[in-house]
Amino acid sequence: MRAPLFSNGQTARAMFSYCTDPSTLEGLSWLSCYLTTGKHMAFYQSFGIVLVLLAITAPVALMFGFAGATAARSRIWPISLLGKSYTAIVRGVPDIAFFMFFVIALDQGFEYLRHKVKCSDWSEPVRQGNDFVVCAQAKLPLSTSPQWVHETYGFALAVLTFAIVFGAFAANVLFGAMKAVPRAQLETAEAYGMSTRQTFWRIMVPQMWVYALPGLSNLWMILIKATPLLFLLGVEDIVYWARELGATKSAKFTDFPHGNWNAYYFGGLLVFYLLLTSISERVYKRLSLRLSHGQATAAGEAQRKAAT
């Protein structure tokens, strides 16, 4: 069986040789042993989960947003209505409510579909009173599958949920950016005989990013600040581990007894997020400088003047 992907692959093995009997240690050496226990290693790994989530969610949400914005612009009204209501509904309600809703709803939706395909001979209803019953083959993940499949599935559901919610925000930003591309640019393209499709992909899409960037960077910040909500979706993320490690530990259950250290752990998380957002801000400034290059905007014009 493969090692668990996200949970603590805990071993009793200590990192330093002097850590075998922590009760004799003091000061720095105690701290160095304490901070390298198996659980702490899992805690450090969970920072990776946050970064992985950001790395996967951002492009997926952007794709959802692009699809939503294009749908909202469509001339066929059912499609445009679909695109518009997607953005409207998600944005009108607290995101936390959506997270809690989608994780169960998506899970049940997938299981229901598999149930329909795999056990089409079942006659009983899926909802029986307060239970949601599907046949054993339709369960997701299968009850026989190893632990890491369960954890990966949970994480994938979380990513999909984030992508749906943030896709709606991104759709709104991209919709505005598409409208902000100067009409003259599109008219010129039409005058050159480009088809609607060509105009969209060759003229509008390359130019819309500079208008979308402030909104998208804002969204990225909101996304960063939404990542701790993973905790509510049942993923063993940094909040989970901070709570686990910060809680009061008595000597009966651990080699490293301590009082309630939640404040230190959450203080650490606070610093982590502050770093993440300040780095993002710096990257954004550089990116906007790059994207403004050669654009028909005030920032682009300022660069042109500075160069000559």
Binding site: K84, T87, A88, I89, R91, G92, V93, P94, D95, I96, A97, M100, F101, I104, A105, Q108, R127, N130, D131, F132, N172, I224, K225, A226, T227, P228, L229, F231, L232, V239, A242, R243, G246, N260, N262, A263, Y265, F266, G267, L269, L270, Y273, L274, T277, S278
Partner: protein, 268 residues
């Protein structure tokens, strides 16, 4: 049990009035509507308290950030950076942990760990930072002519602020501030999921919604009800803030006041 009876029992359940026990089985639509609505009392309470106090604190903070003296500017910038740069969710956990240790070491601070005070303080500080940034942006974009006119008339100091700077600042900041208010009301749903304990099952709307979703294993009823209440709340905020915004802009030529379409204001 009739629906009227349910409403009588549970309408104020979230603040501890009426029936003590939550429904155990055969959850009716009426019960879900009533209890989730009862939870909204907390969301409205947290939102109102934070906005009311946050508004004045944010005005002061924005002026501090705009001031020439580094002694005033630096702390204001730092405060805003901390609260805007980190997730509210983590701030809540952190604050609860800090409040807990304050409570244990200093007597007389036991109320801090209860949500109605502790979470309200965190929300207040958070919205202060966000609103201060909005107000600061507005301060920066007050028309130059307004200030020159004030100087020309010899208006200075407090009068200049009260008569010239502040009204313009409000007028410019108002659309963004409306957004912040909506976001704040949405953020109140976090309170009971971020460290602050629920006492005697008196929670907010999301608490009851997730309670029903857990018990019935059917998210398709309680969460849409929650969404319905929040959209109502958002509409109310937009209406009230829209009225105030109109009042702030009343001296401007009316043609400038272009009303954004209804759906756009609702969902930003």
């Amino acid at each position: 049990m009739s629906c009227v009876q349910t409403i009588q029992d549970y309408a104020f359940r979230s603040i501890g009035l009426g029936e003590r026990l939550l429904p155990r089985e055969d959850y009716t639509l009426c019960e879900q509507f009533t209890l989730i609505g009862s939870g909204m009392i907390w969301n409205i309470y947290f939102g109102l308290v934070a906005i009311l106090f946050g508004f004045f604190a944010a005005t002061g903070l924005a002026i501090a950030k705009n001031s020439g003296s580094a002694k005033l500017r630096k702390p204001a910038e730092f405060f805003i950076y901390i609260f805007r740069g980190s997730p509210l969710f983590i701030q809540m956990f952190f604050a609860y942990a800090v409040f807990l240790s304050i409570k244990q070491s200093v007597p007389g601070f036991s109320l801090l760990t209860s949500a109605w005070l502790g979470a309200a303080i965190v929300l207040f500080l958070n919205t202060t930072a966000y609103s201060a940034e909005i107000f600061y942006g507005a301060l920066q974009s007050i028309p130059k002519g307004d200030l020159e006119a004030a100087d020309a008339y010899g208006i200075t100091g407090w009068t200049r602020f009260k008569r010239i700077v502040w009204p313009s600042m409000m007028r410019l900041a108002w659309p963004a501030y409306t957004n912040e208010a909506i976001f704040l009301f949405h953020a109140t749903a976090l309170v009971y999921f971020s460290g602050f304990p629920v006492w005697q099952q008196r929670g907010d709307a999301l608490y009851y919604a997730s309670y029903f979703a857990d018990k019935t294993f059917n998210p398709f009823v309680p969460y849409p009800i929650l969404a319905f209440y929040f959209i109502l709340l958002t509409l109310a905020v937009i209406t009230i803030f829209g009225r105030i915004g109109k009042h702030l802009n009343r001296h401007l030529p009316q043609a400038v006041l272009r009303r954004p379409s209804f759906m756009r204001t609702l969902f930003r």
